[in-house]
Amino acid sequence: MAKPKIKPEIKTETVVAPAPQWNVVVLNDPINFMGYVVVAFVSVLRISNGEAKKLMRLVHEEGRATVWTGDRERAELLALELQQWHLSAILEADA
C-alpha cells in the first residue's frame, strides 16, 4: 500500500539583522591640550562640558576612548569632524 504523501510544511520567516554598529574612537596624542580636546568634544559631539571632560580623561589615561557608537554614516561624519579638529579619530566596527 502506498504511503500517503505528506508535504512537509515549511515556514519561513524573515529576520532583519540589526545594522552593524560603529565606534568612533579617539586616540591620545601629545600635541593637543586637554582643554582643547574638551572644546572639540563639546562642539562636535554636542555633549555637556562634564561629559566631554570624562571622555577626555579616558583618552588621556587609557590612550583611547570610544566617544560615540551608532550607524556607520553618522560615525563617519563625526570621525571626520573630529579630524577637522586635528584629533586622531578612527572608526571601528563594534564587536
Binding site: 591640550f33 582643554g35 582643547y36 571626520l80 579630524q83 586622531s88
Partner: protein, 154 residues
C-alpha cells in the same frame, strides 16, 4: 559671546608671522596626511580628503590674516565669535602638528609636552627657534581655551 582677544608682544608677532609664512603651506599638507581616511570606499575617502584639504587651506589663510591684522604693541588678535575662536584654535593645532612632524620628529613626546622647559643648547638654532614658536602657539591656544572655558584645565 563677547569678543575674545589674544595679545602678544610686537616681537613675538613678527617672529610667529615669519614662521607661519614658512610652515602654513606644509601645515595643510600634514593635516591631510595625518588624517585616518576610511579604507574600502573610494568615494568616502575622496570626500574626506577634499574636505580636510579645503579646511586646512582655510585655516592657513585665517592665521595669516589674523597675524597680519594684529597691529600695535602689544599686538592684539580679536576673534568676534565662537566660530572664529574655534577656527583659530584648530588652525593653531594644525601648525603645532606640522612643526612636530616636520621640524622635530626626533624629540620624544614626553620632552615635547614640556617644550617650554626644553631649551637644549645642543639643538640647532633653527630647531630651538621652532620649539619656542611651538610653545608660543600653544600659549595662544591655552589663552583662548581659558577664555572659552575658564575651568578647562581644572
Amino acid at each position: 559671546m563677547p569678543e575674545l582677544r589674544l595679545s602678544m608682544t610686537k616681537e613675538a608677532r613678527t617672529v610667529l608671522t615669519d614662521l607661519l609664512r614658512l610652515i602654513a603651506p606644509a601645515a595643510a599638507r600634514v593635516s591631510v596626511n595625518r588624517a585616518r581616511v576610511p579604507e574600502g570606499d573610494p568615494e568616502v575617502a575622496a570626500f574626506w580628503t577634499e574636505t580636510l584639504t579645503a579646511q586646512a587651506s582655510e585655516e592657513a589663510r585665517l592665521l595669516a590674516a589674523a597675524f597680519a591684522q594684529a597691529k600695535g604693541d602689544p599686538a592684539v588678535i580679536v576673534l568676534r565669535n565662537e566660530a572664529q575662536a574655534h577656527a583659530f584654535l584648530r588652525a593653531l593645532s594644525a601648525v603645532r602638528l606640522a612643526l612636530r612632524d616636520l621640524v622635530f620628529p626626533d624629540i620624544t613626546d614626553a620632552d615635547l609636552e614640556a617644550a617650554g622647559e626644553l631649551d637644549d643648547e645642543s639643538l640647532p638654532t633653527e630647531k630651538r627657534h621652532a620649539l619656542a614658536c611651538y610653545t608660543c602657539f600653544g600659549l595662544l591656544q591655552q589663552s583662548l581655551i581659558l577664555q572659552l572655558d575658564p575651568e578647562a584645565f581644572e
